[in-house]
Structures are given as structure tokens and as C-alpha cells.
């Protein structure tokens, strides 16, 4: 969580500095401001890997959708957006448990390093409304995230990755 917020703060301060460019690109975390020269890699969050099922297929949508999971993937150090990165997502939703295979899906980041995957509405499980995201199996070090929803009524959630070479 801390890292997630820090990343957002980084972005806000960066986008303030280059507000004009932000207006044009219009998407979060895509800029490579000078302040991101030493961008630290995102650490794995506690419990992030719980109920992980490796190898979730890339899908257009998990189940019936209705909830938007999004985020950015950038490279540690210079903060360059990483495209074609496979992010796996799962959660306890209106359609199943975290451990159900059909609750898992994956998506690829675009050229701008962002990803979006529609999935069923996340519902509180084990006391908190939260999602799980994984970057695993590639040229970068594995990272598991477990972002919390500010409210379980939210219809979207974002989580950002900063990856370092494995």
C-alpha cells in the first residue's frame, strides 16, 4: 500500500511539473520525468501471493466484468514505461473465490506501459476488499501486489508496478 501511494504521489508531483504534457498524454504514470532517475522497484506486498495460480491466461475480461482493474508498469531507475508485460490479476469477486481458476486472468501492458482488465466486482474477503496482482516469469524480478480498495463500493482499483531486472 505504502509503495502504491508513494508511486501515485510521485506521479502527481511529476505531472504537476510537466502538466502540459500530462494533459496531452492524459494517462497516469507514463512520463519519464527527470525526478524518476532513481525510481525504486516496487516491493512485494505481504500476502500478495496468496491463492496465486501461475499461468493465468491472457483474457479480454475476467468473467462478466463490471469492475476495472488498471495500473502502470515501469522500469526501475529511469521509470520508462514497459510494454508487453504480462500482469496476472485475481480476487474474491461476485463470481468466485480467489482460489477459483475462473477468478484469475492476465493482461498485457500497452506501448505506454498501462494495463486495464475488466473483472467482476470485488467483494470484501477475509475482512478487506482487495485485489491481487502478479508480475511473474519474465526478464524482471517477480512482484506480488495486494492493493486495498478505499471503499468496497468502488467500481475500480489501480496498482502500479516498478520492475527491476531479475
Amino acid at each position: 500500500m505504502t509503495q502504491h501511494h508513494a508511486t501515485r504521489r510521485d506521479f502527481i508531483s511529476a505531472s504537476t511539473a510537466v502538466a502540459g504534457v500530462t494533459f496531452v498524454t492524459g494517462t497516469a504514470g507514463l512520463l519519464v520525468p527527470a525526478s524518476a532517475q532513481n525510481l525504486a522497484p516496487t516491493p512485494t506486498m505481504r500476502g500478495g501471493a496468496n491463492n496465486y495460480l501461475a499461468g493465468a491466461p491472457v483474457v479480454n475480461r475476467i468473467g462478466g466484468g463490471g469492475f476495472m482493474m488498471s495500473g502502470t508498469v515501469r522500469r526501475a531507475g529511469d521509470g520508462a514505461p514497459l510494454s508487453g508485460i504480462r500482469i496476472q490479476i485475481w480476487a474474491h469477486t461476485t463470481e468466485g473465490y480467489e482460489s477459483d481458476r475462473h477468478s484469475h486472468g492476465a493482461t498485457l501492458t500497452g506501448a505506454d506501459g498501462t494495463f486495464r482488465l475488466e473483472m467482476p466486482q470485488i467483494v470484501p474477503a477475509f475482512g478487506q476488499a482487495h485485489a491481487h496482482l502478479a508480475y511473474d516469469g519474465g526478464p524482471f524480478k517477480t512482484v506480488f501486489l495486494r492493493p486495498l480498495m478505499a471503499s468496497s463500493k468502488d467500481k475500480s482499483l489501480s496498482a502500479n508496478f516498478v520492475l527491476e531486472p531479475a
Binding site: G47, N50, V123
Partner: protein, 207 residues
């Protein structure tokens, strides 16, 4: 039965029944299987039993003065252990990694540790109660030790419950938690378990 007795029993029944009834109508249940639902209700029932226990120990319930009340207290204590075991076992079957994290105090959820501490305090209480005769624990020592564990159980359970977003309704959960703390406070005032400590100090002060 006096009016006062009826009111006390009706109040206790309401304090227990309302949170359970509200939880039974929670929309979250639609997205949970029977085992997860049962695990959640075992936790809610356990909290209700934690409310009953100090009332029985202190003889606060009409028709159940201290001596027969304590006998019921022991049975409720055994039931409480069973409910906690059902709660943890049901959650384990639902998502083992989350329960393992909690038991190892390595969970990302802040409420887990409070619940696990309360669980161990409940188990320790039951073990001490079972061995009380064999260990020949003096009544004053027993009372101090037992109530100390009871305070840990109450604080741990209440914080655990309050921090969770689950099937219980928020208002009924807070009310139940306040009543649990109030019942514990009342029995502390009545039984004065710290008498052992103050007596020693009084001896030193010789007053």
C-alpha cells in the same frame, strides 16, 4: 420472574440475536460458500459467548447466581473453544494461505493478530481451567490469572471484530462490542481480581 429479570434476559437475547440476524441478511453471503459462511457465524457466535461469560462469572444474570452461573460459565467456555476452532478451521478451508499468514503473525490485515492473540488466550484459559484442580491453583491466583486472560480475550476479540469488513452490520457490531467491554468492566469491579496485588501492597504499607 421480576420485571427487571425479564428486561435483563430480553436485553441479552436482543444483544445476541440482532447482530446474528443482521449478519444473516448480509449481501456478502451471496458470494460465499457454506463453509466460509459457517466460519463467519462461528466467529459472531463466539463474540456473543464472550459477552455472556463475564455476566455468568459475576452472577449478573437473574436466576443464575454465581454458583450455578459458574457451572454454565464452564460449559459456555467449552462452547467458545469449539466456536473458535470452527471459525479458524472454516477460514482455513476457505483460504489456507490467509489463515497461515494470520497464525504466523505475518498477515497484511491488521485485525488478524488481535484475533490470533484472543484465540491463544481462549485456549490458555480452557487449558488452565481444565488443569486448575490438578495444579492446585489458589483461588486468588486463579482469579487474577483467569481475569487477566479474560481481559486479553475481550480486547483482542473486540479490536479484531471492529477492524473487519465482514457480514456483521457495523452498528450492531459496535453495540455488541461495547456491551462486551461493559460486561467485562462490570465483572472486574464486582470481583476485584486485583485484590491479591493490593493486599500485598497494603501489607507492605501496613495500612
Amino acid at each position: 420472574m421480576s420485571i427487571r429479570a425479564v428486561l435483563i434476559w430480553a436485553g441479552l437475547a436482543t444483544a445476541i440475536a440482532v447482530p446474528i440476524a443482521i449478519a444473516a441478511t448480509s449481501p456478502l453471503l451471496a458470494y460465499r460458500g457454506p463453509v466460509y459462511i459457517a466460519a463467519g457465524f462461528a466467529g459472531i457466535i463466539a463474540m456473543a459467548l464472550v459477552l455472556v461469560q463475564p455476566l455468568l462469572a459475576g452472577g449478573s444474570l437473574p436466576g443464575l447466581p454465581t454458583r450455578p452461573g459458574r457451572r454454565v460459565h464452564r460449559w459456555i467456555g467449552a462452547l467458545l473453544v469449539a466456536m473458535v476452532v470452527a471459525h479458524v478451521a472454516g477460514l482455513w478451508l476457505t483460504s489456507a494461505p490467509d489463515v497461515i499468514d494470520a497464525l504466523l503473525f505475518d498477515s497484511p490485515t491488521p485485525f488478524s493478530a488481535w484475533g490470533v492473540v484472543a484465540m491463544w488466550a481462549i485456549f490458555a484459559t480452557a487449558l488452565l481451567a481444565a488443569l486448575r484442580g490438578r495444579l492446585r491453583i489458589a483461588p486468588r491466583v486463579w482469579r487474577l490469572g483467569h481475569t487477566t486472560l479474560a481481559v486479553v480475550i475481550v480486547i483482542g476479540s473486540v479490536v479484531h471484530a471492529l477492524l473487519i469488513e465482514g457480514a456483521m452490520g457495523n452498528v450492531s457490531k459496535v453495540v455488541l462490542c461495547v456491551l462486551v467491554v461493559a460486561a467485562m468492566a462490570k465483572v472486574l469491579v464486582v470481583l476485584r481480581p486485583w485484590a491479591l496485588l493490593t493486599r500485598q501492597r497494603q501489607g507492605v504499607r501496613s495500612d
